[in-house]
């Protein structure tokens, strides 16, 4: 379990959990789960394009993640953001389908990009993941206050001369960064579940944003570590354990807040 290849897995899993726990707090706070699902999924069309012209996968992922994040941000100015997100997502996936129809060897990678292959992480992936993850976390730290204000009380943020549109774009760019970092190593499903489940349940246990973020990171770490251990032992896909444990943690949060206040979280 702690052999050489598994060390990479542990490192990547830990980094992904920490970043997802932090960024996910804002995903849940802003009601942006759809974006957190769409950007990683859309970026994976870029991976198909990159293999087609012989570039590094991570380059294609990055370009498509950025393009879809900016597309969502820009079109949301004038339309409904959830409908726009769906449209951009399908457009990117359709381009991905076109790329796939042009290449002949890519199909076998689809499964691993969707569901993740944590148990086979190469050591040069660890470096890229660490750097991109660090940039995302630094971005959150730098823009912590405007992000928080514009998510919770947009009116006050506006009166403090915070440009809401710019903050939204910065948030989308961070999501794009996180997708690029996580998709090649853990797959879109795992990253998405970690960005929604732990933060959503963490909100039931505390009120102060900083405490919620710490709890959210802790829950994400517990889920990921447990999943790696069980997945290693049983050989079942890790996505199953992360998905199920994410739901369990959310339900526990609901039960906790229900028991404490006598009513569900609103």
């Amino acid at each position: 379990m702690f052999s050489r290849e598994m060390i990479n897995t542990w490192e990547v899993a830990t980094i992904v959990a920490i970043v997802a726990g932090i960024v996910g707090f804002f995903v849940v706070l802003r009601g942006a789960s759809f974006v957190a699902h769409a950007v990683p999924n859309a970026s994976f069309a870029g991976a198909a394009g990159a293999t087609l012209i012989g570039l590094n996968t991570i380059f294609g992922l990055g370009v498509f993640a950025l393009a879809s994040a900016l597309g969502i941000g820009w079109l949301s100015k004038r339309g409904r953001s959830d409908a726009v997100t769906a449209l951009i997502l399908t457009l990117m996936l359709a381009i991905g389908a076109l790329f796939l129809s042009w290449s002949s060897e890519y199909a076998s990678q689809v499964y691993s990009l969707l569901f993740g292959e944590v148990l086979g992480v190469a050591s040069n992936d660890v470096g890229i993941t660490t750097i991109l993850g660090a940039v995302a976390v630094i971005g959150i730290m730098v823009f912590y206050r405007p992000l928080l204000l514009s998510s919770v009380v947009p009116d006050i943020a506006q009166s403090k001369r915070i440009n809401i549109f710019r903050v939204e774009i910065i948030f989308l760019l961070i999501v794009a960064l996180v997708s690029t970092m996580a998709v090649p190593v853990v797959g879109t499903l795992l990253m998405f579940t970690l960005m929604v489940g732990p933060p959503a349940s963490a909100r039931s246990f505390a009120d102060s944003p900083r405490v919620v973020i710490i709890i959210s990171v802790t829950i994400a770490l517990i889920i990921v570590w447990l999943s790696v251990i069980i997945s290693y032992a049983t050989d079942w896909p890790i996505g199953f354990y992360v998905g199920t444990l994410g739901v369990v943690s959310f339900l526990m949060g609901r039960i906790w807040s229900h028991a404490r206040s006598g009513r569900g979280i609103e």
Binding site: R78, T85, G197, F240, G246
Partner: protein
């Protein structure tokens, strides 16, 4: 004239059975999706709509695993998932967003397991790719009657709950005051959407299913004055986009680089996206922008009449 026609339409387009099935399936899916889609967009449930199609993998892989009819698996999974979403979802939009996300994550996790277990007897990658991308050209005429029946069923249910659903989508408080059971309606609508989305996504893939559900409806709502007109416009947009897509995909058979045809979903989605971009020029009188003023007036009229 004839040269122009055969340049635009490759010979054999109208005589091919594959094309005919694709045209029929495309039309059914486009019409049903457009009608369900108008409510989906009004209610801001695009995420749920997309999630349902992503999660149709669950019904498919699960029924394959225990060896029952996949159709039954899809319908059962759709009901179960929409029920769970409705139970978890709180009234506010952000709470609903998180609830959808949680259910999607859990369902995808379980279907990852199902696909893995299925893979012991069959190729996993194949299943995942087919469900994601699908193809309009892989339709058998045997499934057309089932699709028509289920599509009709969905549209009929939608027609029955049309008025109360509209009222509860636009102003839940007013609907509650009228004694309308808002949560039951919401569950009914989610189930109709779930069943139709699951079916379409298994027939033509997740991409096209989401695109046809959200795209035409959100374009139409930007320039239509009432939901009924929006439905008509959305139906036309969906129909035009899918038929043009099928035509171009058929033409593309000899296009570079591979000479084996470009995917239909690519063309259809591009058309839908262009429609959406074009619709932003006509937005001034849009239903969504004037929603608070005009629809409240509409619904008040309905209330008093």
């Amino acid at each position: 004239m004839r040269i122009v026609a055969s340049f635009l339409i490759e010979p054999g387009f109208f005589s091919s059975a594959v094309v005919r099935n694709a045209l029929i399936t495309g039309a059914i899916v486009a019409l049903v999706s457009a009608m369900v889609g108008v409510f989906t967009v009004i209610r801001s449930q695009s995420f749920a709509g997309h999630a349902m199609s992503d999660m149709s993998t669950l019904g498919g892989s699960g029924s394959f695993l225990i060896g029952i009819n996949p159709l039954l698996g899809f319908v059962a999974a759709s009901f179960a998932l929409s029920g769970t979403m409705e139970l978890l979802g709180v009234e506010r939009r952000r709470g609903r967003d998180v609830a959808t996300g949680i259910v999607l994550g859990g369902a995808l996790g379980v279907s990852a397991l199902f696909l893995y277990l299925d893979a012991r007897s069959q190729s996993t990658t194949g299943a995942a790719v087919t469900i994601l991308f699908g193809s309009l050209f892989a339709q058998s005429s045997a499934r057309v009657p089932i699709m028509i029946a289920l599509g009709l069923g969905g549209v009929i249910v939608l027609g029955i709950i049309y008025r109360p659903l509209l009222l509860s989508s636009i102003s839940p408080d007013l609907a509650l005051a009228q004694g309308i059971r808002v949560r039951l309606l919401s569950f009914l609508f989610l189930s109709v959407m779930g069943v139709s989305v699951a079916l379409t996504s298994i027939e033509i893939g997740t991409i096209l299913s989401t695109a046809l559900l959200i795209g035409p409806a959100s374009s139409a709502l930007r320039f239509s004055r009432t939901p009924a007109i929006a439905m008509l416009c959305a139906c036309s947009i969906g129909l035009i986009a899918s038929w043009l897509g099928i035509l171009l995909a058929y033409d593309s058979y000899y296009w570079p680089p591979k000479q084996r045809g470009w995917p239909v979903s690519f063309f259809v989605v591009v058309f839908i996206f262009l429609f959406y971009l074009a619709s932003s020029f006509k937005e001034r009188n849009s239903l969504l922008r004037r929603k608070n003023i005009s629809l409240d007036r509409d619904t008040n009229l309905e209330v008093t009449s």
